[in-house]
Symmetry: C2
Subunit: 160 residues, 2 copies
DNA sequence: CGGCATCCTAACAGATACTG
DNA sequence: CAGTATCTGTTAGGATGCCG
């Protein structure tokens, strides 16, 4: 559907990636066990949209908390201690705008507001889960590369 | 492994998300067909790391191009017209530092430099693919929500 | 060709004070 | 409690010029 095959081979095919280990064909998901593939301009746009949606500093974390069930504003604030109230508000508004999160305000004193994942928001969890799984599997390896790179030779200050 | 179950139910379970449609159990990937789950602090860190790694404006796009086979600096520059040379360089360096991308310089005149995905980098394609697939499936729905939200009532200028 | 260095700007994000 | 408004610092990122 959105990842088309090209003839150009690279070093990809001999690596046992995650997709290869599923052993199960999914129509619209890139599989690494076969020859090399690349994405076209549409995929670029899709990636862009996802990044715009949840590629910021807090969105995925908020979604992660809401995955555990509805939460009040203050619940989220304490569940994500590092976030400022400003950023929490902004993040919630954006998620709400895109239909990933529902906001329910109860007219009480003191006021109570519950946030919850919508079905749409919940459907994102799976995709995020794959990313988290990849990170969990590879982060030691990644750290190793980074350390090795940082150790090797003095490099320019161009890279912060 | 990293997504633990909580008793609190939400509106998640009746939505046919992506995970549910795979029909195949994966040990470490969140499945939405069951009761609601949430992530612990470790997952938060994993998400953080992924975002730090490829959550920026260009990394995923560069990876996408390299998925199509090795490419020279100028190939990447033309394949991603919107990117500035500065950002391309910075992005490649960071990907290289984390071991996702390999750089091979040939001592010729004029100089030639080839970039390629490492096995590690290629293994990310699958996870990204899930995100892209989600975006492809849902982006119309998302747009619809956004439009509706933007239409409804005048809201404060707090949200840009 | 494949970069690096410099300048500059705008968006992002934290702290704080205030409000319905 | 659940925000909003404002002020301010920090960083991401674009434009441009130079250099091996």
């Amino acid at each position: 559907m959105f990842l088309r095959n090209t003839g150009r081979a690279s070093s990809v095919s001999n690596y046992e990636g995650q997709a290869a280990s599923t052993g199960e064909a999914r129509v619209n998901v890139l599989r690494l066990s076969g020859p090399c593939e690349r994405w076209d301009e549409r995929d670029t746009d899709f990636i862009r949209e996802i990044l715009d949606l949840v590629g910021d500093k807090w969105s995925m974390l908020v979604i992660g908390v809401l995955a555990g069930g509805d939460a009040r504003y203050s619940d989220l604030d304490t569940a994500i201690p590092a976030i400022s109230r400003r950023m929490l508000t902004l993040t919630l508004k954006r998620l709400q705008r895109s239909g990933l999160v529902d906001r329910t305000a109860y007219a009480e004193v003191p006021p109570r507001v519950e946030y919850s994942l919508t079905g749409l928001g919940a459907s994102l969890l799976s995709a995020i889960g794959h990313l988290a799984a990849w990170s969990a599997e590879q982060h030691t390896e990644i750290r190793r590369h980074q350390d090795a790179y940082d150790m090797s030779a003095t490099r320019s200050a161009y890279l912060a």
